[in-house]
Subunit: 153 residues, 2 copies
């Protein structure tokens, strides 16, 4: 399967978030061994009552639960938007091996932008980062969501 | 109540973690309005099967659940060790007003050390930071824990 195949799954998750009036971001954890999807989640932070319920955090947590481990070695994470600083660090703690990013997030990202956590000396596990997978589509989904929000306001 | 009073509660939580063979770090959320403790938690990341179950994340999550909100405005957080990058960002997202830190964490901290998240342009809410509360005791608890671990190994 191509990276685009899995990013499409993350994108489908993001669309579910939009339908639930959540910021449309989706994430998928894949086992590199057999290409199977281990978990898939979308952002819930507005309605769950927990501002840390980002798509990545939820997908990571679900994968840990499913696999009965707190270290996701040999796993890759696909996410439609560049992870924020919190999620970037969580991805490192969980030992994710490869991180595929859809759109960049200049305002809130912590991987390619901002604190660039994986370049910091306080980062003790650095996933391989591949960015720009379906970036136009992932970015457009967010733009459409916020344009609609502004129209309503 | 003094900051030391609440840090002592966080320290007591950290001791519970040590007793459960978890890295001894504790955290307490306090409502600034009336000084009441809203939540208290200790690190569970080794045994919960979730590497993001840091004391701060758990205390924040519990406070959100208890108060039915995902924004902890008017709340302060006491934590025995400088928050890591993940927790530093979560504390910002949750809108914690004041952050009291026990010991500094030069290797893994994300507030006073490392990425210093609150100084980054991608940080959109900066809590007031007060550090060095009971730092000796908080640091000693960690040193004793790891010395014991090394002895066992």
């Amino acid at each position: 399967m191509t990276p685009e195949f899995y990013m499409q799954l993350a994108y489908d998750e993001a669309k579910k978030a939009a339908a639930a009036d959540e910021v449309p971001i989706g994430a998928v954890v894949v086992d590199m061994k057999d290409g199977k999807v281990v978990s898939a989640a979308h952002n819930l932070s507005e309605h769950s009552g927990n501002a840390s319920d980002h798509a990545e955090m939820l997908a990571l947590r679900q994968a840990c639960e499913k696999l009965g481990t707190n270290r996701l070695r040999g796993m890759e994470l696909y996410v439609t938007l560049e992870p924020c600083t919190m999620c970037a660090a969580a991805i490192s703690f969980m030992r994710i091996e490869k991180l595929y990013i859809g759109a960049e997030d200049k305002k809130g990202g912590g991987v390619l932008n901002g604190v660039k956590f994986y370049d910091a000396p306080t980062c003790h596990h650095r996933p391989q980062v591949i960015s720009g997978i379906m970036s136009e589509e992932c970015s457009q989904l967010l733009k459409d969501f916020f344009a609609k929000k502004r129209k309503k306001a």
